[in-house]
């Protein structure tokens, strides 16, 4: 089922949660809504489900305007972060619930419902747990039951709200792979919300990056990672460093030095240079490069991440160096990004600094040598 979101706006008590969002979701696609908290991603998901009504705009299921259809009529499967299982029902009753509440004529006979429940339990790899109650299951098992329950009604669209957010890292990785398999087997159009970019990039066919109630970029994992179309996306997806610069005639300048980088199609004036810490080449001398003094350094697996203070205003950027590089404190390092992007500063906003994305299980940063 194709889902088309057309110019949807949603306000909660005058607070704009979504501002003019349009999105086309293809049939059978696995799509991720990715963004920081408050970006409107969950609101968008709830609008598709019909759990909220848009203030303006329309949502189409196929060719049909579903905007004014009730939740019950939309036939969507919804999975919550905290499972929302019916704790007074067995696993089998939970899964069969959607079939049991159907009106008389379309309700399958009891035997058929329990057969469907067992079938779905097989699909989610929980065979034999029909008689258990939700509080007798682990978190991962509960989420599988929640998914089976959503699949039982043969939904037109499957919607998942941070489905793995409450699980520990190991189970999360496992369920991620497994969700992909289920999606490939059943072929449901699936939308899931996450704030975990790793999850979104790894799992989804397309990623929708959202910020402050707007869609920033829609694209495949490669597209949003390699060609971010806004400073926000550059900063949000993957590690990045930003440096305030100036563009003059297609050349990038940092204060009074030319950096040897081009910025075609960027108007003259203040701008921000973005690059990834690992996409740089080190240089010996410095004629047209970025140079800075080492302010901090930390070891990350097989490489070394070094923070450099660049220029008179000591803007900090992060670069990745080989482990054998003698990057002592205060020593000078010159480099040039291999890939970069320059965004003109609009509306007085400027970006600088380092954005790191840590896997959640790793300990907090320990900076040394500063």
């Amino acid at each position: 089922m194709e889902v088309s979101i057309r110019h949807v706006r949603k306000e909660f008590d005058r607070f704009p949660a979504l501002r003019d969002v349009s999105l086309d979701i293809r049939s059978g696609e696995l799509i991720a809504l990715l963004g920081p908290s408050g970006s409107g991603k969950t609101t968008l998901l709830r609008l598709i489900a019909g759990l909220e009504r848009p203030t303006e705009g329309a949502i189409f299921f196929g060719d049909e305007d579903a905007s004014h259809r009730s939740v019950q009529e939309r036939n969507v499967g919804f999975v919550f972060q905290h499972y929302a299982l019916f704790r007074y029902m067995t696993v089998a009753d939970n899964i069969g619930f959607g079939l049991k509440v159907r009106p008389g004529a379309s309700r399958p006979p009891k035997a058929e419902i329990s057969r469907r429940a067992s079938e779905l339990l097989d699909l989610v790899q929980l065979s034999g747990l029909e008689k258990r109650y939700p509080n007798q299951l682990s978190g991962g098992q509960r989420q599988r039951v929640a998914l089976a329950r959503a699949l039982a009604i043969e939904p037109k669209v499957l919607l998942l709200d941070e489905p793995f957010g409450a699980l520990d890292a190991q189970v999360r990785r496992e369920l991620r792979r497994w969700l992909r398999e289920i999606h490939d087997t059943t072929g449901h159009t699936t939308v899931f919300v996450t704030h975990d970019q790793e999850e979104a990039l790894e799992l989804a066919d397309r990623v929708v990056v959202m910020s402050q109630g707007r869609i920033e970029q829609v694209g495949t994992a490669d597209e949003v990672y390699d060609t971010p179309n806004s400073p926000f996306v550059y900063g949000f997806i993957g590690d990045s460093s930003a440096l305030p610069v100036r563009v003059e005639g297609g050349q990038v300048w940092q204060q009074d030095r030319a950096l040897g980088l081009t910025a075609a199609n960027v108007p003259d004036g203040p701008a921000t240079l973005f690059f990834r810490p690992h996409e740089i080449e080190l240089l010996d001398g410095c004629g047209g490069c970025i140079a800075g003094t080492v302010a901090a350094s930390r070891r990350v697996a097989g490489t070394r991440r070094v923070e450099l203070e660049v220029g008179g205003e000591r803007h900090r950027v992060e670069v990745e160096l080989p482990i054998e590089h003698p990057a002592a404190s205060k020593s000078r390092v010159a480099f040039r990004p291999r890939r970069w992007k320059v965004f003109p500063d609009g509306h007085g906003e400027s970006h600088s600094g380092i954005v790191r994305h840590q896997p959640e299980e790793s300990p907090p940063l320990a900076l040394t040598g500063s």
């Binding site: 759990l51 019950q72 299982l85 619930f97 509440v101 329950r149």
Partner: protein
Amino acid sequence: MTITTATRSGWQFRRPSVIPGFGLTLGFTIAYLTLIVLIPLAGVVWRTTELGWSGFWEIATDGRTLNALRISFGTAFIAALVNVVFGVIVAWVLVRYRFPGRRIVDAAVDLPFALPTAVAGIALAAIYAPNGWIGQLLAPLGVKVAFTPLGIVVALIFIGLPFVVRTVQPVMEEIDKEVEEVAATLGATRFQTISRVILPGLAPAVLTGFALAFARAVGEYGSVIFIAGNIPYVSEIAPLLIVIRLEEFHYAGATAIAALMLVISFAMLFVINLIQAWSRRRYGYGG
């Protein structure tokens, strides 16, 4: 498993715990219960034995006693049932909706706790009497409330309401909104969500409220005697009969009826507890 104290049935006299004080608190509990509850109740039974078996049996099977017990337990049961329906609805409104005056309604629910029950009885009798505000509206319909068993039920509903509301309310507040939303996405109508998802979860709390309201109603005296009319065999409740026997200085007769009430109440509360335990297991609380 070198140290194991658990028996096969899972029952254990004392679980090792880092929190001390088991002996002290259990001792206090037993001493307290003995002084306040068990000794006075034993006194009731002991005074009754003065009658001997035949004397006891005579009072127990006396028509007036039986009728008083029937009226007491019957009206209390009906009142508790009404309170279950009524109380759940009141709790629902208080938990679910924000409306002007909600806090006042919330506070008003507790009034039956605070009011001297005699005041309630007099007020209800005045209003439901054939010439009272509500009584005169009901009179043409042939419904008599005051001075009939129906009046007793009204008084008992009044005093029992807070028990159901206050036991159900906190459990209702715990209901996860997402569970209702999930039910809706699965196609359940509002009515199906309430009857199949929400009410089963409330069942243990509702049963507790029922038991409390029922127990309170069985023992109620103050409000009932003003509205009941107190006609022997028709609207005379057992507690009143006990007071009448006391005023006649027939102490053993009074304690005999008291002992009967004690046994019946205990049996009914015990059955309610069993149902409760069953419903907790039935709805997966057991773990």
